[in-house]
Symmetry: C2
Subunit: 208 residues, 2 copies
Amino acid sequence: MRLTLTDILDLEKPFRTNLINCLTGFKSPHLIGTKSKSGEPNLGLYTQVMHVGANPPLLGVLFRPPVVPRHTLQNIIETREFTINLVGKSILEPAHWTSAKWDENEFEAVSLTEQYIEGTYAPFVAQSLVKMGMTFKERHVIQTNQTVLVVGQIRELIIEDGLIEADGFLNLEKVEMLTMLGLDSYHTTDSLKRMEYAKIDRFPKPLK
Amino acid sequence: MRLTLTDILDLEKPFRTNLINCLTGFKSPHLIGTKSKSGEPNLGLYTQVMHVGANPPLLGVLFRPPVVPRHTLQNIIETREFTINLVGKSILEPAHWTSAKWDENEFEAVSLTEQYIEGTYAPFVAQSLVKMGMTFKERHVIQTNQTVLVVGQIRELIIEDGLIEADGFLNLEKVEMLTMLGLDSYHTTDSLKRMEYAKIDRFPKPLK
């Protein structure tokens, strides 16, 4: 099936939204925790968190255009702090529920637990097994549609004991960390293999 | 286990690279096809492809700093065209192999097939079941580490017949589309459920 840009723009909105959101394939849900300057905690589910660099350790988050108030984005800019918390199968429903239009503190609304660590302002999600404390570094506005890319530096990592393997790999499958497709489909994973570093002189093999 | 920024910077490089690359959780591998101005095709494996918007349909790709020649990035800037091709289990090895340091055309080197469609300059991967023809829109340089974000608009979509469901959702699990963790770990997925749109007045349920 072939669809041109004109065909895509002619689709009914919900159909187009589902389709285009599936095109990048599987991605991970992340809970982003912030606290406003006045002390109100906020928690939101995001699926556009990306690796920006390992040294220094940097992650990026893409936010939808701020045409309505975006508390998470505003809190990050104002306090320069946020947390990113991975989402496992055991908290699928409360994590998804944070995306409803809550006026109140989402932690309380969905029964997830705020966790504060010495020297941090933004709340972590106690139930998450991999948590990152982030410092805001820079932002970029995508001119084509006013989407906002925020880049942050990892200030600290809190990882469940036993999860980090000998070479630094995190076995997230073992703890049923989720992957997502489109706007609403949640999946666990089945490991096929880890592949060796690719070289031109031989067909790549699984890592021993 | 708690690691501060100082702890992270003190880690051995390969260990840190593996660890930091796992922190964003599962993400999808994508093959990006381009052709240089002089007509040389190029194919590379990327894991930082993101949804930027559905209307107009926009995707982003994050490229490592161009400290060595980055043919894909250079071709995109010079020709304003690229393709993004999803990677299924059946092409895991050749897709991974494109990441070796090839001097020659990666399509020929790894035995994937260039596909050209009327009116397009950049090659698609014939074996991929979901292919996007992209037009370059803008780029942003992340100041902290010189990473480059490229935003492109979908000009056309080529999707295997039968893959698009009635509401626009793409059942990528059915065709064993891959998800990745870290630099080298490939996985298929197990669907848990699609969730209904979250509302504040009730605990979210699976979509009917």
